[in-house]
Each structure stands twice: as structure tokens, then as C-alpha cells.
Symmetry: C2
Subunit: 314 residues, 2 copies
């Protein structure tokens, strides 16, 4: 079933210990869409400038991603320049040019309106909310955010959270959002803000899913176990070429897998956590979207099996 | 089968956000021995002062721990005072008094010499090596160390590593020991120093086992899978009362389980990683050894099942 994703499509100049690339195709919606495209139909809402050409368009088309919602505006696309020279876990931003993204007004093509799944990538919560409200018929809504919105736009963000089923953020963002340094307490506080499921991404240590009382993930084995979290591993990697987009790729694998399943059972959400890790692990193997854009389904299944072997007894 | 452990038996004064305790029974060998005692016979080599009385002795005896190797010396026992007020992951040391531990000369009772398993807890590597060499007949030797020995006593430590089968340390120690900031590369470098298995403890994120070419953990499913690491979760806890001894309790659960098994297969080592996490999770629930000293086998099996449910698909 189709996912509509709203977020950035951008160009990134990236420097890591492995090298440097100028103006790679990037943006949260791009990473998300590519990762999810291996599992289900994906439709993108974004805005790009005149520098978004046939080569970039072709990356989406090759993966069957619907780009009718990518508006072409006069000017240049969102541009980000950053490096990870000292710490692969944290980008140092050198330059951000919003360009056409600064006046982004998401427009939802009619052809997208029957989407059953909606992903609100990391953008201004005012826009996230507008898209959410314009698509009241979706079955499941997931979203991302970041420290900037948590710190300075909390009221708008809290309104988005009330309309979210699943929130995906990292440890620091979870603790900041809840104002609590214990991850479990912080997660419960975030669940009380709206989402029925919170996925906390731990970078190289994997991710933990927390479920609320209103969760779709009740496992039915007894009241004491209803809220048991679920922890998925990350692949220990001897080289991370470029961490950019790892979180968005996690979200794409996670939500893409969910959208591909007929039934939303606890098993669905747990396997989705593994597929999130799988797609995140591919994303960082090369610069930008290079690796994500070149996968075949068998590689994905092989890596899923590796994640299982890495973490399962017997 | 019996484990001999050499290390500290001490008194700790501890302050955490949950409160303060004066002069709890502590020390790496104490935590290790208590955790391991739920799985197998444990024999302790340590030195204590005249302040180690009947109450402390009773804690060991209640768990069937052999204390004939705990030497009583004139003076006071090793004493440590620390707090975790700002960061539960890192102790702030306020006072360390080595006391009788400063002149510790491990003496191995004859009754310990048929031990098949040896654990070298975190002490001066010169002493670790001496005990290792005095027990040449053991089947498996595991050990711990810390940043202090890595930084300032590396030559002596490297000699210990050559005689170790399994080393258990944390992320920072692994990277420091190897001089490499990538965990996988650092782990491989540490394995080249001697151990056949390296267990890297990630605190609240669990632990990862890395296996060397000479590993006993070959899984026999093909050359490409021989060296696949194994990742065990930690329990997401809404309250950590006192983190002291978590790593030693992990080691006790881990090595105690291994010593309780007839065959050392890959499955044994993987399950041992889970039992390590289980015992670590109990240790932090109360101050000092309070919780570890009061477990029953059913609680341990229930928590093991919880760890499995927390991390396994289906």
C-alpha cells in the first residue's frame, strides 16, 4: 500500500574521513523514499529548484517513486554542506541554504489522496501538521523531528505529535522532548504526548521501540508484557563511509516494510525495526544515496538474515 | 564446574540520585562471585582487613562461595567512595583507600587448583598474570581491566592478554586499548593481542561479542559467518538505583553460565551474553549487592525470557 512522504529533497556536499562529495542528491524525503521503495509504492511531496535535473529525476523514477508532488520552483534547491571528520555520529554543519525550501507550501496531488500511509519527515512542524490535516483518511502516520524544532518550536511540534501514530527520533531528542534523562521515563512521557509507538534510534547500538497503552502492538500474552519494549540491533560496521541519511533510511525501511504488510501485528512492528536497521546499514556504506539507489531485493533479505543471526539465540 | 576469581573485596560508600549508602559490601570479586554463584561453584582469592566481619562472610557463605582464598590481613579493607549524581553511566570517585589491598599478594589455596575456569577481575595486571601462571591447568580464562591499566601499565596488561581466552571491557576501553575509534576495527586489534573472544559492554545498550579466527565459537555454517559478532540487549530500566558493580555482575552471569555448561558451543557463548545482561540488570536495581544477594533461580529464568522477548522476532 502506498506511502506519501513529505520532506526535503536537497543537494548535499559532504566530507567524511572516507573523502568528499559535492552536491550529492540528498534530503530526508529522498533517503526515506529510496529506502521505502524496495518495499512498497512511495509518493513524494517536496519542492526543488531549477538545479534539480533529469539525472536527479531519474533516481526517483528508476525506483518507481511518484514525483508528481515534487514542485519545481524558480531558484535553487535546498543545499546543505557538512562534515563528519572528528565524529561520525554527529555532523558539523558548514552551510545551509534553504533556497526554494524556505517558502515551501506542501501541495498534495489528488493522485496521492488515497495513500494509506503518511510519513512526515523532519521539516517545520507547521507544515507537518498541515499535511497531516489535509490527509485525514490515512491509516497510519509516522514522523520524525529534530532538536531545533523541539527546542524552539515546541508548541507546534506538540500539535503534530497529537496526530502521530509513530514517532522516530534519537536518544538525545527523546530526552530533550521529555525533559527527562532516563530513556524509559522519557519514552513514556513522549508516548503520553500522542504517538502510540516511539522508535528511539541509538546509532551504532541499534534502536528501541516503546509502545503505549493505546498501542497496536499488544502481544496478547498477559497484561504485564503489553508494554515490553523491543530492541533491534545495528550491524557492527568496520567502515562508515557517510552517515548522512542513516536515520531517514531507517525510517524508510521501517515504514516501507509496515506498509507492505496486510496485518499490523506486533510481529510486523518488530520485523520493521529490523528492516529499518538493514536499510540504515546500507545507506552508510557509500556517499549520499549511492548505495541505497543500487540495492537488489536479495541483498536486503541477506542482510535481514545477518541482523537476525547477529541478535538471536539458536 | 568451579570458577576461581581473583579481585577486590571491598567496602563502598555510594551516592546516586536514589540515595546514599555507607560502607556497602562491594568489590569486583564480590559482585562477580555473587552473580556467578547462581550458576556454578565459585572460589574467591582476595584480601580483606579486620573490618570484614561475620556479616560480610555470611553473604558469601549463603551463596556457597568458597572463601578459603580470602586472606585476612591486619588493617582495613579496600574502601571506595563515589557518586553518580550527574551521570549514572560514570562514577565520580571521591576517595579510594587501598588499605590492605595495596600489598595484595594473591595466594591460591590448594583446594582451588582443580578449578577449570579462572576469572581475573580488574586488578593490577602483574597480579592477574601471576595468578594466571599459577593455574596453568584451567580450561578457560576470562578477565577484565580498566582505563588506568590500559593507559599506564600497558606492557604488563599485554602480557595478561596473551594468556586470556575472553576479555570483557567497555567501548571506551576497547578503543583506547586498540588506539582506534571504530569499534569493529578496535575489536579486531584487541583480538590480535591474545583473546579469542572480546565482549564489549555498551552499558544501557547491551553488549557485543567479537570472535577471533581462533575462536571456540565457530558456528560451522560457512567461512563468511565464522566471525559474525553477536549482540545482546540490555533491559531498558526506568530506574537505575546504583550502577556500581554492573559490569562485574555481567561478567559473573556470563562466565558463571559458561562454567555451568558441559559443551562450549557458539550457542553457549551467545546465551552467556544474555545471562550477563540479566545479572547486570538485577545488580543495578538496588544499592550495592542487595539485589544480587537475594535472587532466586526462577527470577533469573523469567528475566532471561524477558531479554529474549525484548530482542527476538516471533
Amino acid at each position: 500500500m502506498a506511502i506519501t512522504v513529505v520532506g526535503s529533497v536537497a543537494f548535499d556536499s559532504i566530507e567524511t574521513p572516507a573523502g568528499r562529495r559535492e552536491r550529492c542528491l540528498g534530503g530526508a524525503a529522498t533517503y526515506f523514499a529510496l529506502a521505502a521503495s524496495y518495499f512498497t509504492d512511495v509518493r513524494v511531496i517536496a519542492v526543488v529548484g531549477e538545479d534539480f535535473g533529469a539525472a536527479e529525476q531519474a533516481v526517483f523514477e528508476k525506483h518507481g517513486i511518484d514525483t508528481r508532488g515534487i514542485e519545481r520552483a524558480a531558484g535553487k534547491s535546498f543545499f546543505w554542506e557538512g562534515s563528519y571528520l572528528e565524529n561520525l555520529n554527529e555532523a558539523k554543519t558548514h552551510n545551509t541554504e534553504l533556497n526554494v525550501f524556505g517558502a515551501f507550501e506542501p501541495k498534495i496531488p489528488d493522485a496521492y489522496r488515497d495513500s494509506e500511509f503518511l510519513f512526515l519527515a523532519n521539516i517545520d512542524p507547521v507544515l507537518q501538521r498541515r499535511v497531516r490535516e489535509a490527509m485525514p483518511g490515512v491509516k497510519l502516520v509516522a514522523g520524525d523531528t529534530m532538536n531545533y524544532w523541539i527546542k524552539d518550536h515546541k508548541a507546534a511540534l506538540l500539535e503534530v505529535l497529537r496526530g502521530l501514530d509513530i514517532l522516530l527520533i534519537n536518544d538525545t531528542e527523546t530526552k530533550m522532548l521529555a525533559g527527562n534523562n532516563n530513556l524509559v521515563k522519557a519514552a513514556n512521557a513522549v508516548l503520553a504526548m500522542g504517538p502510540r509507538m516511539l522508535v528511539v534510534k541509538h546509532g551504532e547500538y541499534g534502536a528501541t521501540a516503546f509502545f503505549s497503552e493505546r498501542s497496536f502492538a499488544k502481544n496478547g500474552t498477559g497484561p504485564s508484557k503489553v508494554f515490553l519494549p523491543f530492541r533491534a540491533p545495528a550491524l557492527p560496521l568496520s567502515e562508515v563511509v557517510d552517515p548522512t541519511g542513516a536515520g531517514d533510511s531507517f525510517a524508510g525501511g521501517f515504514f516501507g516494510y509496515i506498509a507492505s504488510q496486510k496485518e499490523l501485528t506486533p510481529a510486523t512492528f518488530k520485523k520493521a525495526m529490523f528492516y529499518g536497521g538493514v536499510m540504515g546499514s546500507f545507506a552508510v556504506e557509500r556517499f549520499g544515496t549511492e548505495r541505497l539507489a543500487q540495492l537488489d531485493p536479495q541483498e536486503i533479505e541477506e542482510r535481514f538474515a545477518l541482523f537476525r543471526e547477529l541478535s538471536h539465540l539458536e
